[in-house]
Amino acid sequence: MHTGFLTIYWRDMLRFIRFRTLLFASLVQPALWLAFFGIAMSNNFERLTATMPAAPGVRTVGYLTFIGAGVIAMTTLFTSLFAGTVLLFDKNWGLMRETLSSPLPRIHIIIGIGLSAMTKSFIQAGVIMGFGLLLGVQFFEGYTPAQTFFSLLGIMLFIGTFSLGFLFLSAAIAITMESPEGMQAVITLLTMPFFFTSNALYPVNSFPPVLRALSTVNPLTHLVSGIRYFAIGSDFSSIGLRYTYTREEVLVSFLALLAFAGIMFLIARWRFTKVTVT
């Protein structure tokens, strides 16, 4: 097997670790989200839902636990969508000419960058979980070590697939666009609908039908569902609502993410065969 993608991966990780400020910011920022937004909203929701009767026999978790999964998902979304920007800079600064005129098949560029975006997402998710547990997020509560291990594995599988999908999308945009400002604008525009039509911060049950339909096809919703299933459980209640996830539902969510990543991969590959960099 040609392992050229590892070269691309190596370079991208090298740069990630080299920029201490960037590394630090990318790790601290999601933790701050959890700390400020999470705690602030948490207190509000607890007050509003205090009067509602808890569903009998179901574990109730706080809002902070509820959005813990959302913040992980959101961070993965942002990181992956912005990770393709490196390709735009490489292209504009002429750095990509070296890679494109080498015998390395172009597909390896996409795969290499994809793997590094995935690695970054894993690191970030790890930091958020660790920080979340300190703040009182009730992940993996009552799990045996083996259960925790397999849950972590499941979460990684979901995050990995999801981040690849959005990285491919980001790479396709980056290789097509000319200016970083334009790319920034497109990505900001994209994150809005993905973020707000998902179940990351609030339940989608009370959405109007159109928004609900959108949330069902939104990869972010599937990622959040997957993380909640593995980290909190298949049946719990939070902010006055009961959530159940069956194995089949979670499998469908995973397949949806796989399909999304597959389609995005094809788009990215198509854009890469079109590009000429001189």
């Binding site: 050229g4 002429g94 750095l95 000419r97 070296e98 015998p103 390395l104 000429t276």
Partner: protein, 321 residues
């Protein structure tokens, strides 16, 4: 390479170019900016597709076996293409890995090349901290990393100071002596003249003439005489009748006379002839043809970016061709 043409949309950037570079030689494309040099290099290095024509590099067909071509060439691009945030060693390491060089071979080659371009002391320095000349040397080292059969260099000394340029030329000669065929583009006359075995002058996407530096200069005659007279027009007519005069070209203020014989002895004759024709001479200069003269002769004008006003460019071209 045969009948190569390339279009950017409607614009024909390369027009029916054919040439052969011999194994082991330094071959230059000399031409102004925008002549199509970089387009040719981009095609030859597989960054642009072959639209029309056929190219063979190191025995491989560019259209059919681009992968094999990529394996056998090295490139030094016109603009700097170094990642500012990687160290000298990492730049070379990355390049070696791109070409699937085994680890020990990479390490040996890096040591060897850093020695060649005298950057041993900068091994772990980020490229952002290197001077322009060092960056260029690093790029040359990178181009050589995989021991290419052919090294392409697009304007290798652009924007460098004279000492650095001479040093780079030394490296290029060294590399060539070790057996690498070198194809370079330049718009510096001296670079083409001093460095290359053969030169193609390229203009408007076409090859105007190809030859060794001395061959090209000889086509202009033995000597060039520059005259300013009271009546350049009549003078030109008078001189064209002389057997030893190969040609006369009009400049904005004077005439350039190409002569077949030693100008030192012809000059008095010319002066006598003009004086007897009632023409007064106000300035005289005698020199050997230089690469600049060859260039002006074949393209009908000086290099565009050396700044010549548009009107004279057009009229000179009409006379020169």
């Amino acid at each position: 390479m045969n009948d190569l043409e390339y279009f950017f949309g409607e614009v024909k950037a390369v027009d029916n170019i054919s040439f052969t570079v011999k194994k082991g030689e330094i071959f230059s494309f000399l031409g102004p900016n925008g002549a199509g040099k970089s387009t040719v290099i981009n095609i030859l290095t597989t960054l642009l597709p072959v639209q029309k024509g056929s190219v063979k590099i190191a025995g491989y067909d560019l259209k059919k076996e681009p992968e094999m071509v990529r394996e056998s060439i090295g490139i030094v691009f016109q603009e700097l293409t170094l990642d500012r945030d990687m160290t000298v060693r990492e730049i070379l390491e990355y390049h070696g890995r791109l070409y699937s060089m085994p680890k020990t071979a990479r390490q040996e080659r890096i040591d060897e090349l850093l020695g060649l371009v005298e950057l041993e002391g900068k091994r772990d320095v980020l490229t952002r901290h290197l001077s322009g000349g060092m960056k260029r040397r690093l790029e040359i080292a990178r181009g050589l990393m995989t021991r290419p059969k052919v090294l392409f260099m697009d304007e290798p000394t652009i924007g460098l100071d004279p000492q650095t340029r001479i040093r780079i030329w030394d490296y290029v000669r060294d590399i060539n002596r070790q057996g690498t065929t070198i194809f370079l583009t330049t718009h510096y006359m001296d670079e083409a003249d001093q460095l290359s075995d053969r030169i193609s002058i390229i203009d408007h996407g076409k090859i105007v003439v190809t030859g060794r530096s001395w061959e090209l200069k000889n086509t202009l005659g033995e000597d060039l005489i520059y005259l300013e007279t009271s009546d350049n027009w009549t003078a030109s007519d008078l001189l064209k009748k002389l057997d030893s005069v190969k040609g006369v070209r009009e400049k904005s203020k004077g005439l350039i006379i190409m002569v077949n014989v030693d100008g030192t002895y012809l000059l008095p004759e010319i002066m006598d002839k003009l004086r007897s024709g009632g023409i007064r001479i106000s300035a005289v200069n005698l020199k050997k043809p230089s690469m600049d003269d060859v260039f002006v002769h074949y393209t009908g004008r000086e290099l565009r970016d050396t700044g010549m006003e548009k009107g004279s460019t057009v009229s000179l071209r009409a006379g020169g061709r």
